[in-house]
Symmetry: C2
Subunit: 749 residues, 2 copies
C-alpha cells in the first residue's frame, strides 16, 4: 500500500498529469485548463474511448461490404441505421473534443472542419438516397467516398495524418518531376507516331499499331510500368531491328531514370519531413514538461523544484499501472542525490523515463522448485535442465525442423507420413514443455519473447486443428477443407523458427519486426486509397464483367458475360473474376493494379484514365513512400547496430546494480532468496531492491519502432536546459528552418 | 614565348610531374622512379595510348558480332587474326605497364594476373578451335566469355573496377538477405503445394496448376518480379476467393518488403564503399603531392619551398596546354604574397587547382564590331541586339516551339504542313543567327554552353537531312526511309529545348546531365554482364527459335520454326524475333529480361535456370546499384544546391578582381579595349590582366560530375597540414575505419 495518503488530486496536479501524459504519448491537443475540461480531457484520452472510435471508423468503412453491390447483402435499412449510428458516434466524439479545446483553436483546425463536413455530406446523401429510393428512383451513393475522411482526421490516427502530410509536402516536387516525365513521354510518343504511324504495322492481335497519338501515349505509359514489354515493341522490331533502339532509349530514360528520380524525390522529402516532424514532437514534449513543472513547482532554497510527494502522485496519475518499485526507480533517477525533491532538469525527462519500457523482473524460483524442491533439485532434473540449456538442444531441434520440412514436401497419401506428422507435433510439444520446465514460465512468456510466443501459438493451434480434423474424419467421415488448409499453413509456419537460430538472419528479422508497427500506418494509407478507388470503380464498372464458374452454360460465359470481350486477352487469360462487382473483388483488382502487370488488357476508354490515376497515386507516390520508409528503417537499424546509444536510465540501472543481462537470467546462481512480494521501497530504494531479488531490465532493444529510435536520436541533440520554442513557433517549424540544428541521423559511414 | 629558357627537364622534375599528374587524375600506379621508367610512364599515360587500348578492348568485344552465330558473318580467319591482334596489343600494354612498375608490385596485383590468364586462355582456345576446325570438328569457343575481363582489368577503366569492387563488397550482405528471401520463397511454395496441389486445378492454358514443387518455386519466383501477375493467381482465386489472401501475403512479403530490402542493402553498402574509395583517393592525392614537393623543395630561410621557376616548369610539364595567363593565375594563388616561391601548403593544392576548369575569357568585341564598327554600332543594330537580349525573345521562341509541336502531331499529308516545316526550320536558323550576331561567337559556343551546342547541332542536322531528302525526292523520286526517320527524330528533339526555359526543370535536368558520365560506368558494367550472358545464351539456345517474316511459307513459321512451341504464349505473342541466334538479338532479349516481363513464357528447363541467374545478377544487383547511384546523385545535387562551397581558387579569382559573372559578360560596357593577343604576364599578373580584358571564370557549376562533387566534399574535411597516412595504409583503409573522420556528406536536412 502506498505510504502516503492519496487525497483527491488538485486541479494543478490533474492538469500537470494531462501535460505529462500528452508529452509521453506525443499528443498534440491544445486543451482548456479549467478543472472540468482537464477531467473531460482525461476521459477523452481513455483507451476505451479511443478503441471505440476506431471500432466505429472501421465499421463505417466495412459497410461497403454489405451495401449494394455487396458481398453479403444487407437490407438498405440495416446499413443506413448502422451508418447513422457511426455518424452519431463521430459527432459525439467531435463534441467531446470541442468541449476540451479552446473555441477558436477548434474551428481553426482543418481536421475538425473536415469531419463536420463529412458528417453533413454523409447524412444529406443518405437522406436524399433514402427518399429517392422510396419513390423507386436509383441514385448514386456518392458520399461513400468521404468515409475514409474519418480514418484520416480523427486525432487517434496521428501516424496516418503524418503520412498524408508528408505526401502533401512532397507533391510540389513530385509534380515537377512528373511534368518532366510527361514531357518526355509525350516527346517519345510523338517520335513513335512519326516513325511507326505510316507503316501499317499490326499487333499480334491483328490490331493497328501505333496509329493514334493518344493510344501511343497510353501504350508507352504502360511500357514505363514494364507491363506490356516486349509486346509493344515486337511489331516495330519485326519490321526493322534498328527500331529496338527507340524502345531501349525509352526504357532507359523513362523506366529506369525517371522512376528512380521519383523514388529519390519521395525519399528525400520523406526524410526531410520526417525529421522535421520528429523535431516538432521533441520540442512539443519539452514544452509540455516545462508547463507541467511550472504548475507543480515550489521554492526550495535558490531554485524551484517539485517535491517528492507531489511527484509520486503525478506519476501515479499519469501511469496508474506502474509498480511502486518501478516508480521508486524513476524517483532514484530523477532525484539523484535523494534530496527529497526533483529539480527542473530532471523533471522534464519524466516523459521519456515513463516511455522507456522497464521490465520489473522478480528473479524467482521456478514454481516447481517451490512446490517440489526435492524433485526439481534432484540430479536427473538438473541434468535435464542442463541438457535443455545446451546448444546441442537447439541444434537437435533445428535438425528436426529440417527433417519435418522434407516430410511436409513428401506426398501426404502414404499413412506413414501422416503418422510422422503426429510424431513431429509431439516432438514440438515436448520441446515447449521442456523449456517451460527449465526456464521460469513468466520469464519464458515475457512480453518481448516474440519467438517463444510464436512457437507456442503455432504449435497449439496446429494441435487443436489436427485433433479437430482427426475427430471429424473418424466420426463423420468428413474432411473439412478449411481446417485442413489451416493445418497445412501452420505446419509450414512452424519451419520459420529456424531463421532465428542464425545470428545474421536475426538482424534482418529485427528490422522486419521493427517495421511492422509503421507498416500498419501504410496499411491505413493503402486502405484509404483503396476504399476511394474501389467505391469509384464499383460505380463506374459494376456489372461490366461477370464471373461464371467453369462449365457454366450461361451465354457469353467465356467472354465474362460481355460480348465486347470476345477474343480479348482479358477473356483468354480467364480474368473474369477480376471485376468491380463487389467491394472485396474491387480490392483484389486494385491489388493487382498495384503490382502492375497485365493491367493494360482493359478494353474501354474511361477505364484507362481510372487506371492511370490509380497508378500515379498508388505506385508512384505510396509505394515509393513505402520503399523510402523501408530504406530509412534499414539505415536507422543499421547505424544503431554499431553504436547503441545508452540513455540516462540505462546507465542508472547499471549504476544502481539493478540491471541484469538477459543471459545472466538464465544462470541459476542468482536464484537464491529471490522471490518476494511487492514491496514499498522507500529512501534507499534500489539497493534494497536488489537484495530482495528485484531486477530491472530495459525492454529488449530488438523490438523498438523506427519512429522511437529516430525520436531518441533527435532528443539527444536538444540540450537539457533548452525549453524549446513556444507552442506556436513549434507548429510553424519548417524543414528548411530545421537545417542548422537538426541531427544528422546517419552515422557518417 | 616563355620568358625563361626551357632546359631539358631533369629527372626530379619529370618524376614530380608524374606524381602531380597522377594526383590530378586520381591515378594509382606505383611506378619506378628511375629516369627511364618515369619517361616510359609518361608515355604509358599519354592519351593516344589510352584511347588505343580502349579501341582494342571494344574491337575485341565486338568480334562477337562477326563470329558465328553472326549478324555480319566474317570468315573465321579474319576474326581470329583480329583477335590475335587485340591480344597482342593487350600483351604489349601489359609489358609496358610491367616496365614502369616495381616487379613485386606487378605480380601481386590481381588485375595483371587476370589479364595474363585471360590472354593465355584466349590464345589456347583459339588454337584448339582452329586446329579442330581444320579437321572438321566443331567445338565451342568458350574463351569468348573471358573477353570482358580486359574491359574490367585494364587500368584505364578504374570506374568500372570500382563498381565491381563495390558489388563484391556488397555480396556477403546481399547473400544473407537473398538466403532469407529464398527461405521465404520456399516456405510459400511449400504452402502453395499443400493448399493447391491436390485440387486438380488448371491454368488458363489447360495445364496442371501447382502440382510440382520446383515448378511452384519457379512460378512464385516469377511472381516476385510481378511478371506473371495475375495469371498465376487466377486458378486458385477462381476456386475460392479466400486464396487471394495467400497471394496478397506473398506479394507484400516478397515483392515489396524483400525487394526494398535488397535496395536498402545495396544502397547502404554502395554509399559506404563509395565514401571509402573517395577518401582513399583524397589521401592518395595528398600523399603524391607531398612526394612531388619533396623532390623539388629547396631551403628558403626557415622552411622548404619550391622556387617559382621550378614550379612553372612543373606546371608546363603537367599541363602543357594551359595558357600562360592561366598559369600566372595559379601562381598568384599558390604564391599569395608574391615572394617568388611556393610553400608546401600551397603546393599540395596544385593538383586541385589544375583540376578546376578555369575558362580564360578574353572579353573582346564582336568580330563584326571590329570589321564593321559603324554598322554594328548603328541604332537599328543596337535595337536588334537589345531585342534579342530581351526576355520576350525567349518567350516568342517558346511559343514557336509549342506551335511547332502541334504541327508535328498533325498529319503530314497536307502540303501546307510540309511547307510549315520549312518555315519552322527557317525560324530556328534565324534565331541562331541573331544570337550569334548579338553575343560573341566564341562565348556563345563555349565549352559549357550545352544548350547552344545542342540547338545548333540539332537544327543543322535537321537542315542537312531535310535538304538531302528534298533533293532525293525531287531528282530521283525516291524517299529514303532512313533519312526521313532521322528528320522526324530531329524535329521532335528540337522541342526538348523548351524544358530549359523553366527554372525548376533546370535543376532536374542538371542532375540528369551530371549523371551521364557515371552512367557510362554502368553502361560498361551492363556491357560486361550482357556480353557474358549473351555468349552463354548463344551457345545454349542458338537456333532453337527461328524468325520468319510475316507471310512466310516455311514450315512451322507460326511456331518460330520449333514445333514444340505450337500454341505456346511465346508463339502466340509473335515473339519469334526474340532469340539467341546472334549477338545483337541476344542483347535485345537480355534487355527485355532486364525490364522483367513475359520472361516466364519460356518452355524448356535449363532456360529457367539461365533466366533466374540473369535476373539475380542484373535486376537484383546491378539495377539496384544503378538506382542507388541515382538516389545518391540526386541527394548530393540537392544538398549542394542549397549551400555551394566556395574553394580557394574561386575566392582568389574574385579577390584579384578577375572574376566575372556570366550575366556581366552580356553587358556591353565591358567591351572597351578588350581584345588582346595572348600575353605573358609576369609579376603582377592578374591586375594587369584585367586591364587587358582578360577575365577568368570557373567553368559552370552545372556540369560537374557526382564523383567530383563528393571528392571535393571530402577533401574539404582533410586539414591542409595533414599529409595523410602512407601509401600502404591508404590502400588498406576499410569503410569501418572510415567512420571517425569521414565527412557526413548529407547536409543534415
Amino acid at each position: 500500500m502506498p505510504p502516503f495518503p492519496s487525497p483527491e488530486p488538485g486541479t494543478d496536479l490533474l492538469l500537470a498529469a494531462a501535460f505529462v501524459s500528452d508529452a509521453q504519448y506525443n499528443r498534440n491537443i491544445p486543451f482548456k485548463t479549467s478543472p472540468e475540461a482537464v477531467r473531460l480531457y482525461r476521459l477523452y484520452n481513455h483507451w476505451v474511448m479511443r478503441r471505440a472510435t476506431y471500432f466505429f471508423i472501421f465499421l463505417n468503412l466495412s459497410l461497403a461490404l454489405f451495401e449494394e453491390p455487396a458481398v453479403y447483402p444487407l437490407p438498405f435499412l440495416a446499413t443506413s441505421v448502422l451508418e447513422v449510428l457511426c455518424l452519431l458516434v463521430f459527432l459525439g466524439r467531435l463534441i467531446h473534443f470541442a468541449k476540451v479545446t479552446l473555441h477558436n483553436v477548434f474551428w481553426k483546425d482543418t481536421k475538425n472542419i473536415c469531419i463536420v463536413v463529412a458528417i453533413l455530406l454523409s447524412l444529406t446523401d443518405l437522406a436524399v438516397y433514402g427518399v429517392l429510393r422510396l419513390y423507386g428512383v436509383r441514385s448514386i451513393r456518392w458520399s461513400r467516398i468521404v468515409r475514409p475522411v474519418f480514418l484520416i482526421n480523427f486525432a487517434e490516427s496521428r501516424q496516418i495524418r503524418r503520412a498524408f502530410r508528408s505526401i502533401r509536402n512532397t507533391l510540389p516536387e513530385i509534380t515537377y518531376v512528373f511534368l518532366l516525365f510527361m514531357f518526355s513521354l509525350l516527346m517519345f510518343s510523338l517520335m513513335a507516331l512519326k516513325l511507326f504511324g505510316e507503316r501499317n504495322l499490326q499487333t499480334a492481335e491483328g490490331l493497328p499499331y501505333f496509329r493514334n497519338y493518344l493510344e501511343i501515349v497510353f501504350d508507352l505509359y504502360v511500357l514505363v510500368t514494364t507491363a506490356n514489354s516486349p509486346d509493344v515493341m515486337m511489331p516495330a522490331f519485326d519490321f526493322s531491328s534498328w527500331y529496338a533502339l527507340f524502345f531501349i532509349a525509352f526504357v532507359i530514360v523513362n523506366t529506369y531514370i525517371f522512376m528512380s528520380l521519383f523514388l529519390a524525390v519521395v525519399y528525400n522529402n520523406y526524410k526531410k519531413h520526417l525529421k522535421n516532424e520528429i523535431r516538432k514532437l521533441a520540442y512539443m514534449k519539452r514544452r509540455k514538461m516545462v508547463e507541467a513543472f511550472n504548475l507543480l513547482k515550489e521554492q526550495e532554497g535558490e531554485q524551484f523544484v517539485v517535491k517528492e510527494a507531489q511527484w509520486k502522485q503525478l506519476v501515479k496519475l499519469v501511469a496508474p499501472d506502474t509498480s511502486s518499485s518501478h516508480r521508486e526507480l524513476l524517483l532514484r533517477i530523477s532525484d539523484d542525490e535523494q534530496k527529497g525533491f526533483v529539480d527542473k532538469k530532471s523533471f522534464v525527462q519524466l516523459a521519456d523515463l515513463l516511455n522507456i519500457q522497464v521490465v520489473t523482473l522478480r528473479i524467482r524460483r521456478h514454481p516447481l522448485a517451490r512446490w517440489a524442491p526435492a524433485l526439481y533439485g534432484s540430479a536427473p532434473s538438473r541434468l535435464l535442465r542442463g541438457a535443455v540449456r545446451h546448444r546441442a538442444f537447439v541444434w537437435t531441434y533445428d535438425a528436426i525442423i529440417l527433417i519435418n520440412a522434407i516430410f511436409i514436401a513428401l506426398d501426404e497419401e502414404s499413412p506413414y507420413i501422416s503418422y510422422a506428422e503426429w510424431v513431429f507435433l509431439a516432438l514440438y510439444i515436448i520441446e515447449i514443455l521442456l523449456k517451460v520446465y527449465t526456464y521460469e514460465p513468466r520469464e519464458f512468456f515475457g512480453k518481448t519473447q516474440f519467438w517463444n510466443w510464436f512457437d507456442t501459438l503455432i504449435i497449439f493451434a496446429a494441435l487443436t486443428a489436427t485433433i479437430l480434423n482427426a475427430t471429424l474424419q473418424s466420426t463423420m467421415k468428413y474432411n473439412s477443407q478449411q481446417i485442413l488448409d489451416i493445418v497445412f499453413i501452420l505446419r509450414v509456419l512452424r519451419l520459420i523458427r529456424i531463421v532465428d537460430s542464425i545470428q545474421r538472419f536475426q538482424v534482418i528479422m529485427n528490422t522486419l519486426i521493427n517495421i511492422v508497427p509503421t507498416m500498419l500506418t501504410f496499411g491505413g494509407l493503402t486502405l484509404v486509397v483503396y476504399c476511394v478507388f474501389a467505391i469509384i470503380g464499383m460505380e463506374l464498372f459494376h456489372g461490366k464483367i461477370q464471373y461464371f464458374p467453369a462449365n457454366s452454360n450461361a451465354p457469353h460465359a467465356l467472354e465474362c458475360g460481355n460480348p465486347a470481350l470476345k477474343d480479348s486477352l482479358f477473356a483468354r487469360g480467364r480474368y473474369c473474376k477480376n471485376n468491380f462487382n463487389d467491394f472485396a473483388s474491387s480490392f483484389i483488382v486494385l491489388m493487382e493494379l498495384t503490382v502492375v502487370n497485365q493491367w493494360h488488357d482493359i478494353p474501354c476508354g474511361p477505364a484507362k484514365l481510372y487506371f492511370i490515376a490509380f497508378h500515379i497515386v498508388m505506385v508512384i507516390i505510396i509505394v515509393n513512400i513505402f520503399v523510402s520508409f523501408i530504406l530509412e528503417a534499414f539505415f536507422v537499424e543499421y547505424s544503431l547496430e554499431k553504436s547503441e546509444v545508452e540513455t540516462a536510465i540505462e546507465q542508472k540501472i547499471q549504476e544502481l546494480g539493478m540491471g541484469v543481462q538477459e543471459d545472466e537470467l538464465q544462470q541459476e546462481q542468482l536464484l537464491d532468496n529471490m522471490e518476494s512480494v511487492e514491496h514499498e521501497l522507500e529512501g534507499e530504494g534500489g539497493m534494497k531492491a536488489q537484495s530482495k531479488g528485484l531486477v530491472f531490465k530495459i525492454a529488449s532493444k530488438r523490438y523498438r519502432t523506427v519512429d522511437a529510435l529516430l525520436q531518441r536520436m533527435f532528443e539527444a541533440e536538444i540540450p537539457l536546459e533548452d525549453e524549446g520554442p513556444s507552442f506556436e513557433e513549434i507548429l510553424n517549424l519548417s524543414p528548411s528552418s530545421a537545417v542548422p540544428r537538426s541531427p544528422s541521423s546517419e552515422s557518417a559511414a
